[in-house]
Amino acid sequence: MPDVQTLVNEFLFKLKKRKIEGSHATARQTTILLRSVISQQRIPYTHQAAALIDAVKAVGEQLVAANPVELAVGNIVRRVLHIIREEDLSPTTVAIAGLNVSAVSDDEGDTDHDDHPVLSAAAVAAASRNTLRPPSLQTLLEDLPDSAAVPHTSSSGGDSEGKSKSADKSSRSRRLKHDVIEAVNELIEDIDTCHEQIAEQAVEHIHQNEVILTLGSSRTVLEFLCAAKEKKRSFRVFVAEGAPRYQGHLLAKELVARGLQTTLIADSAVFAMISRVNMVIVGAHAVMANGGVIAPVGLNMVALAAQRHAVPFVVLAGSHKLCPLYPHNPEVLLNELRSPSELLDFGEFSDCMDFGSGTGSPLLHVVNPTFDYVPPKLVSLFITDTGGHNPSYVYRLIADYYSTDDLVLQRKPAPVN
């Protein structure tokens, strides 16, 4: 598959050169790339799922290595792997269940023979999912697991049930791929709509005449605030400018363009202003498994200020930002140091970067980290596309999206390198 390889290479190159900015864009493009990898992958008659998983993993490793800071890449790779596992699991279990059921029904003899397998297949699938991982609150509360994968699995299970063994196999291989692609498409849709889904909940959180503080710029935050505005809530927004990239300026512009009362403040003024603030709403770069947040630099300070004044600190994050890794994991490269030129003009300071005199080592160092780590105890609430969650609940959410087999996978290829 030369064309897939070139696609992969191109994407790798872009990732490497930091040409794709933002976890949303990265997540989306990664998913699209993986979809084409899956669709181009030839599948043998046996162990189709394993073949697919291997193919995705191979590409995924490269992608993660290309830009280890962008955790969304790894998240999406794991999500896709999880989808493949699920899709693989459900038809087989359904098939087995179908056999069992038919065996049972053979004993019983007749009647509701036709309807029963379909229901039982779904039930068995759900049960099997539950045995696969600890039950999450969501799955416990809902009778059926989330509707994303189930319709296809149940129908496929139902269809394949009656067929002969060989025919069943070939159709299943094609079906597996088809189903996986179908599910990946849904994942893309999820990523596309995550802003809207999060924004829908805005009215529940933003109340009349409140003052909201945010730092830097995040599209999710923008949509969230605008959604509240559209619902006729009137409130004010304080935007901290987010030095040194000053994306807060852009956000302020956008907010004003959409008719919101906006106040722009310096990052250092956050503590002074926090007592007037009702709620801090910020975006995130990634949400770690322990509920900690990797966020644009400066947010830890804001979170501490919010805690000092007992202001709720709300983090908006699409589900693609949920990372199944823990921040203490050495594999997680938490930060990226960008060019010092964002802080100061090279020309003006070139005499401080003087290596030819003295000991040859410069006296001036400029450090420009991109991210902050906000510990979970400072976060009051996460709002994802599935609703609001407590930081301590994040690991549960993660169990919904990722299978435990994949968490460790990134580390295995390390010796290969």
Binding site: T6, N9, E10, F13, K16, K17, R18, K19, A65, P68, L333, L337, R338, S339, P340, S341, E342, D345, F346, G347, E348, F349, S350, D351, M353, D354, F355, G356, S357, G358, T359, G360, S361, P362, H365, V366, N368, A414, N417
Partner: protein, 725 residues
């Protein structure tokens, strides 16, 4: 040739009309200098590792990210190596980015290279001209857009030069990139480059500019705080200019200066200043050192080791700017300091200290070694208790135990340093013997030398590779004395004359005494300059009252004008020249035309007084003569009434204060001036009305001139009557 050229033109015109031309770049993979010898005898400069990556990687990565789609790599020296490197690199397989090599064996300068490229007829529009040792992270879009817009407006704007501001201190220039001072004159509004002077000699402290520059341009800013990034956006005309002027060799020294001075066809060069992005060129060892450190400090982001790392060797940035690849064997007791890069597969023994250094792939470093501010390339073996300070150590070097490299040492490929041997400061060691011919002009003779030494180099290398044992033993036999026991290689003797200058371009920090020397020279300069131009101002206490200063200035100005005037009288200088001189004085003292007129009148009266006279009558005649002789000069400063009044007031002042002798003659002289049309009637009337409200003392002369004034008031009526009749 001729038909080809025509075709080239035809092709060039065509695609410009088309909507989109892919952006092209010419990358010169040869610097055409000898600064990096002896290393460059064995490997081309663009393939030398800069923080463990060949320099050309940075250049190509930048070109790719800047949106260039087609790169023509011009290879000259060691063309085979460059080509085979590119063949195996990632750049060949990228879509939308093509790298084409152009090989030449007889090009000896950038000029030749561009001529050859023109002959090949591969460039079809605007292109980026860069050498393979330049790295940058600037965005080209704005510079390119500006260039295109200018080109559209003025087809003579053929080149945009990227420049960067840096601190103007010559110490910084010297100690950062090791380059000489650069002096530019730029039109502040259009950003046109008007003057370009490299190698400005700071010890001289002066610089001469063609005065036509001042005549032709309304405003000029002079810069010594600008650094040339050696990134140029050129139009196709640049190539044809090189072809037309076959003597152009050096891009800056010949082409840019030629264009600026000769003013051929009115072609113009413009500048584009970058602010927050980084661009620099590795020109010499000091530049190599500085730019390596800039990379480690991430000024070149995203062109930094942990992002760029090639292939599967992932480099990670750890605390305090330490970059470490995977699979490093590091002893627990080894100390690796901040701002250090360690390559893959390197092992480091116990108690070894590494600070501010770059260590390449697969090196073996023994225990108790000290590496400070050094650049150790790939597969180097450093045995126990070696000491390296501010040195460059190339691939495959072996340093036997307890050998020492003093600051500024360069060890070329596969040199072996014997046990306990101390390599003296600033020495360069190579397996190849130093070419016997000394370069008088490094650029022009480089290629000749190079072809000789290249052959011998490859010969030696082949021999070395072919039968290493034999060769080694033979070599050992020959040169063991030069580099200690078991050492292999030759210490190059320093070029005559440049011995003193060796510290300028080495990787080692500038010694304190040299720094002090430079600073001293500069301070002397400053003192000299300030004494020259503005003695009273720099005499320690700056007078806080600007009024006093201005008055002082006026006094000095007057004296200067007087001196000029007297000289003119004594030497019979033409009036036009005197006007010119007074004009320049006026500009330098920032005076008005009225001040000039006053000063000149003052000098004229002085002159008349100085001439021998015994009687009032004689004095009057003297004045008469002087005014007659110099009325043209005076008149040229009397464009209007105000200036004329100023002259009268000045005259009053003279009569009152300095030269009492003249006071009785006030009316006569005033009359004289009126007769000579130097002072008009209106001016006199205005003067009178101005004086009306003045004190009695001030009105002395008005009273004295009463009759004259009376006559004046009547005169016009008479004139009218006469006219009427």
């Amino acid at each position: 040739m001729a038909p080809k050229r025509i075709r080239a033109r035809a092709v060039s015109d065509d695609p410009e009309d088309l909507a989109r031309v892919p952006l092209q770049a010419v990358l010169l993979a040869d610097s055409f200098t000898t600064r990096f010898r002896p290393i460059t005898l064995e490997r081309p400069k663009v393939l030398l590792p800069l923080v463990n990556l060949p320099m050309i990687e940075y250049t190509l990565a930048w070109l790719e990210s800047a949106g260039v789609e087609e790169v023509f790599v011009f290879c000259c020296a060691h063309a085979k190596q460059v080509m085979s490197y590119l063949e195996n690199s990632q750049w060949k397989s990228l879509p939308k980015f093509s790298v084409t090599t152009i090989e030449s064996h007889n090009s000896i300068s950038a000029g030749d290279a561009l001529r050859l490229i023109y002959e090949r007829n591969v460039i079809h529009g605007d292109f980026v001209l860069i050498s393979g040792d330049t790295l940058s992270n600037m965005s080209l879009t704005r510079a390119l857009q500006e260039h295109k817009e200018r080109k559209k407006k003025d087809s003579n704007a053929i080149m945009t030069m990227v420049v960067q501001r840096s601190k103007p201190s010559p110490i910084t220039q010297q100690s950062r990139l090791g380059t000489d001072g650069l002096f530019m004159a730029i039109d502040p509004t259009t950003k046109q480059l008007l003057y370009y002077e490299e190698n400005t000699n700071h010890s001289k402290g002066t610089l001469s500019i063609d005065k036509m520059l001042l005549v032709d341009n309304t405003s000029i800013t002079l810069h010594n705080d600008i650094q040339d990034c050696y990134i140029d956006i050129c139009s196709l005309e640049v190539l044809s200019l090189f072809t037309d002027n076959f003597d152009y060799q050096h891009l800056r020294r010949h082409f840019v200066k030629g264009l600026l001075i000769d003013d051929i066809m009115g072609y113009k060069i413009f500048t584009h200043e970058i602010h927050s992005s980084y661009a620099a060129r590795v020109d010499n060892y000091r530049g190599y050192d500085t730019i390596s450190k800039d990379i480690i400090q991430r000024w070149t982001y995203p062109l930094v080791p942990d992002v760029l790392s090639l292939g599967n060797s992932a480099t990670k940035l750890e605390r305090q700017g330490m970059y470490r690849s995977s699979e490093i064997g590091q002893s627990r007791s080894a100390q690796i300091g901040p701002h250090t890069v360690i390559g893959t597969g390197t092992t480091i023994g116990s108690n070894t200290k590494i600070t501010n250094s770059v260590v390449g792939k697969g090196c073996t470093i023994g225990s108790n070694a000290v590496i400070e501010g050094s650049y150790v390339w790939d597969n180097v073996i450093i045995e126990d208790e070696c000491e390296l300070r501010h040195a460059i150590v190339c691939d495959g070097v072996v340093m036997k135990s307890r050998s020492v490299l003093k600051p500024g040492v360069v060890l070329s490929f596969k040199v072996v340093i014997g046990q306990n041997f101390v390599v003296p400061p600033y020495s360069k060691v190579s397996l190849l013997k130093q070419p016997t011919k000394q370069d008088s002009d490094e650029e022009l003779e480089y290629a000749d030398n190079n072809s000789d030494t290249l052959d011998s180099a490859t010969g030696t290398m082949d021999k070395l590779n072919g039968d290493p044992l034999l060769e080694f033993s033979e070599m050992e036999h020959h040169v063991s004395s030069e580099l200690g026991y078991g050492g292999v290689g030759y210490i190059w003797s320093l070029c005559e004359g440049s011995h003193e200058e060796e510290w300028r371009h080495s990787v080692a920090p500038i010694p304190a005494e040299k720094l002090a020397e430079i600073t001293q020279v500069i301070e002397d300069d400053l003192e000299l300059v300030s004494q020259d131009s503005n003695a009273p101002a720099s005499s320690g206490e700056l007078k806080p009252d600007t009024q006093i200063n201005a008055e002082d200035d006026a006094v000095y100005f007057e004296k200067e004008v007087e001196a000029t005037f007297l000289r003119a009288v004594n030497e019979n200088v033409e009036v036009d020249h005197v006007i010119l001189e007074v004009n320049s004085l006026r500009l330098s003292y920032n005076m008005q035309a009225a001040d000039c007129a006053g000063a000149i009148f003052h000098s004229m009266m002085k002159l008349a007084l100085d001439a021998p006279h015994s009687m009032q009558n004689e004095l009057l005649r003297n004045v008469h003569n002087t005014v007659n002789a110099w009325q043209k000069l005076l008149k040229s400063y009397l464009p209007g009434k105000d200036e004329e009044i100023e002259v009268i007031l000045k005259f009053e002042e003279i009569c009152l204060e300095s030269v009492k002798e003249l006071s009785p003659l006030f009316t006569q002289i005033l009359h004289l001036l009126y007769d000579k049309d130097i002072i008009t009637e209106e001016a006199i009337e205005d003067w009178e009305s101005e004086k009306k409200d003045a004190d009695e003392a001030d009105r002395v002369f008005v009273k004295q001139a009463e009759i004259f004034l009376q006559w004046l008031r009547e005169a016009p009526e008479e004139d009218d009557e006469e006219d009427g009749e």
